[in-house]
Symmetry: C2
Subunit: 275 residues, 2 copies
């Protein structure tokens, strides 16, 4: 479900009328990029970071955003005013556009959508996510493309088998979850993968944290290293920091939210409130 | 450019009105499958083979085609009558549909498009394609998904550097071109890759050919094997058999269409005329 209004190429339209022609290259060749940020109490969170990544993804995929940051911000403000949804997520979606031959890029379509979000910050889950480890390396991992073919295909399998999400690894080297970065707490280190991943905005904030008694590092690690982890968690725009209880049925620590995860979550909330 | 009419969920609409809502999972997660066959003199070519693959791709991606083969054929016939385009290509496109959360599959959208094709069978090119070898393994290679992220991204680079198309290899083992299967003629063998590829309909026809003095085989081979090839060619629905002149600037044979490529092309044309 989306909000009442959607912006298409910086024109405000009713969600029911928000359509694109079937010739768009996103439909034909899965070609497009996006970004997604949160709005809390009417204030966009880390919007400039998301804008930086969005413009960079577009550049990497040879797509023209067509609008300046100021124009984009104006459009987002209008959307927020019209939808009146102070707690929400905003998605910027840039497609390959109408292709003359179904293959070559056309003039992109820029779609901005707002989704209601229900914050339940008080409702802290005591049990973490159950992940399934899947060997798969995403193509162009550092660019936020719309390619989620593998994850969406696996979704029914995950649900049927009682998993909450997927943890990708590349021949044993852990990379990321489809929509989140993955972390372990091992000894006095808080570690997230360094290579072949999407550099999440929340991930970058955590990498900048000073946490007493711990060093926060980006370094590749493997499935074997999970055995020595006292905590595991994911970070994402939607989830902040969220505990991981088990991978392929093997519990991490005692399977409950650990002190480091809790601390990082609180530090993220403080950072967001200070924005 | 498409024809005047497009079929959406088996309803005929004018191409200008052929739109889907921005909530479709193809737009958000690049999730969809397709197939494509030729219509020659008003007769669909190898339509049942393409139907088989289309229904199988849908099944592999957990998508429901929603219509029986008979219903699909009826819709295609109506489209052909309305568009009156006896030489054309027809694309069946099945998307992930409207997703309630932008991630889970919805009820798919089935879009059938017809494109004019200009057959220039007499205009046989004497010089073949110039390909650039790119190390990349497509995900889910045996399923005809809409994922062409890598190929479309590379397209401007190809054009700028005088290449006609890409030849994928997986750490040196040749797989396929983004939209065609790849073959070499080496000694008395006509060889195409066996693993990690899309099994093209034209490829399957060629594998069934009896060619005097040659054995047609599917077996993996490497970039090194190109040095011993006297001919190379691609096969696809659009191109039948088409000569490849050079890879990364290294000529194959004398760079012109060879006798085996010419023969296979003629055998394909005969087969199509006999349909």
């Amino acid at each position: 479900m989306t909000a009442k209004y959607v912006s298409i190429n910086n024109n405000m339209v009713l969600a029911a009328d928000a359509k694109v022609g079937v010739g768009d290259l996103a439909m034909h060749r899965g070609y497009g990029i996006f970004d997604y940020f949160k709005v809390v109490d009417g204030r966009p969170v880390f919007m400039d970071d998301h804008f930086n990544r969005f413009y960079n993804s577009a550049k990497e995929m040879h797509l023209d955003v067509m609008f300046t940051r100021a124009e984009l911000k104006k459009s987002i403000n209008e959307l927020m005013e019209n939808n009146n949804m102070p707690n929400s997520g905003i998605k910027l979606l840039l497609t390959g556009g109408y292709s003359e031959d179904g293959y070559k890029m056309g003039k992109p379509n820029l779609i901005i959508l707002q989704y209601p979000l229900d914050f339940k910050e008080g409702n802290e889950r005591e049990t973490g996510l159950k992940l399934a480890a899947i060997s798969h390396q995403r193509q162009l991992p550092s660019i936020k493309t719309i390619d989620y073919l593998m994850a969406v295909r696996l979704h029914p399998f995950m649900k049927e088998n009682g998993f909450d999400d997927v943890l990708y690894h590349n021949n044993g080297t852990i990379t990321e979850c489809p929509r989140a970065n993955f972390w372990i707490v091992s000894g006095s280190e808080i570690i997230t993968a360094a290579s072949n991943i999407l550099r999440g905005i929340t991930r970058s904030k955590v990498l900048g944290f000073d946490i007493d008694g711990y060093t926060v590092v980006e370094r590749d690690f493997t499935l074997h290293d999970l055995a020595n982890a006292q905590e595991a968690f994911i970070t994402s725009t939607t989830q902040y920091a969220y505990p991981v209880a088990a991978i392929d049925g093997r519990m991490i620590g005692d399977g409950k939210i650990g002190p480091v995860t809790k601390r990082i979550k609180n530090m993220l909330l403080e950072l967001i409130n200070a924005e």
